[in-house]
Amino acid sequence: MAVLNKMRQSMARSWSLYRSDFRSMDKTQIFLLLLLTLLAVFMLLPLVFIFNHAFKPLHELFLFPPTFFVRQPTLQNFTDLLQATQDTFLPVTRFIFNSIVVTLLSTVGMVILGALCAYPLAKHPFPGRKIVFGVILLSIMISVETMGIPRYIVVKSLGIMNTYWGHVLPILALPVGVFLLKQFMDQVPDELLEAAKLDGATEWQLLVRIILPIVTPAMATITILSFQTAWSNSETSALFMQDDAMKTLPFYVESLTSNLANTVARQGVAAAASLIIFMPNLIIFLLSQRKVIQTMAHSGIK
């Protein structure tokens, strides 16, 4: 509820600002606005559909011509989603639970590991720093998706198949996160650290008391980044989990929809499930978009 209130407030605030903005706009700006509105509508249409789809009762899903907006919204699809698995021995709540555990662990882990790693990379001239950062920079260009087979071998030989570690550890290896944090930490003035050092602050205190409060935008960004990666990740389930009880929600939805192409059956359920996957991503981004854009300004590869 607090979240909703905050959003409502910020929307109200920006609405009152809009009106003053509109008055000060010239003709080209209004033209731009129209053009962008068209594009934005195009970008958002599919999302609007899916939102409506998820709340449509069965008979509306089969309607011809198809309707964009739901007429009699119902939660039927969501209850169907819950019941779809009640015949088998694993309820969908189990996958949701797995997803929540994996996402929480990976997000917290990534924030801690990322901050710990980015700080020396930005501020300590230790021998080998250039090499380490160079390798991290290079690895941004490697898509881990292509490395499925060797990663499978690594996970298997570590003995973490079918455990939460098997989900979390591969997600933690997110070089983009460390890269963004390091670029942002570069902006923290050295004089500030010097002063704190004179006052006898330890390295740990420097990181926690001085660096972290300054780089909160970047921290928020990598929180979102690892949250999204973890929450919509189905790869680790497909590759490293043989035990169905250890699989995550996106993987379950994938299996639910694998035969969905060109049929309407179960589209409602699939829409409901993908809405569950999509909404947390959207909300967490909405709450911190300003910080993200602030961080991305320092994303440049220099």
Partner: protein
Amino acid sequence: MSNEATRVVRQPAAARSPKLKGSLGRMLQDKMREIWRFRLSYLFIAPFLVVFSLFIIIPVFTGVALSFTYFNSIEFPKWAGWMNYQNLFSQDVIFLQHVIPNSFKFALFVGPIGYVLAFVLAWLIAQLPGTLRVWYALAMYAPSLTGGIAMVVVWQVMFTGDRTGYINSFLLKWGLIDQPMLLTIDKDYLLGIMIVVSIWSSMGLGFLAILAGILNVDRTLYEAGRIDGISSRLQEIWYITIPMMKPQMLFAAVMAIVGTLKSGGIGTQLSGMNPTPDYSGQLFMNHIEDFGFTRLELGYASAISIVLLILTILLSRFLWMLLGPKEDE
């Protein structure tokens, strides 16, 4: 302990290493001492580096090693030399006739067009008044949030093959077609649909980086430019905006390349078939998965991933030359 480390942190390197032209042993000893001074730094970066090595470095090297073997996941890998690569480029008809042309077409459209589109959109959004910006940026960025499975559901609903699908119903209504088309399993349409869907969902981190870069350009530069004779907005973009935000452009370009070359699942997911109908949507990733997880020829699949990896790095390097920091900067 940590105090000692902090004290040396900011001293210039020259001050730290004593003047020595002595033996190799002395130099080594000194190096070791310097490393010991920074032990805390190493401790800090260690946890990430462990995970990073385990799941990125080691897999890359394992992949390279496997690509020179015959490996069926049961027996121990047998050395095969360049065999996998030779077969890939001389005998693999599917790879040569479908995967390469498809990937080329797909990458050409999604990569450069998606990138230019991201820049144009970001620039247009940056011209808007501040409060509006956020919401338009969000509208462009939201599709990339659907990533993976949610995206497929979204588009399957749109492309449903009978008349209840949105696209089909729309085309029927305007009399463009007489009968509903099975769009996503038609080999003539699949690749096109994949391209549209990929561009739609490609406004991710790279797009945000470009937007932030444009917003960050110093306003006074534009005024200075006007005095120096820049007359149009296009000139402004070309002479001021782009040069000022090269680093962000490079980051976005790298993200675009990686994002484009790693996509593959989308064809299978849209059509619901693997391999895709008549291999019309077969990309590098599908080929890797086909050999790696269906035919269990892991050595061969690794060879394909290594080719893809080298391609990604070469392309990124090429862009680095275009946009990266120059010697004199």
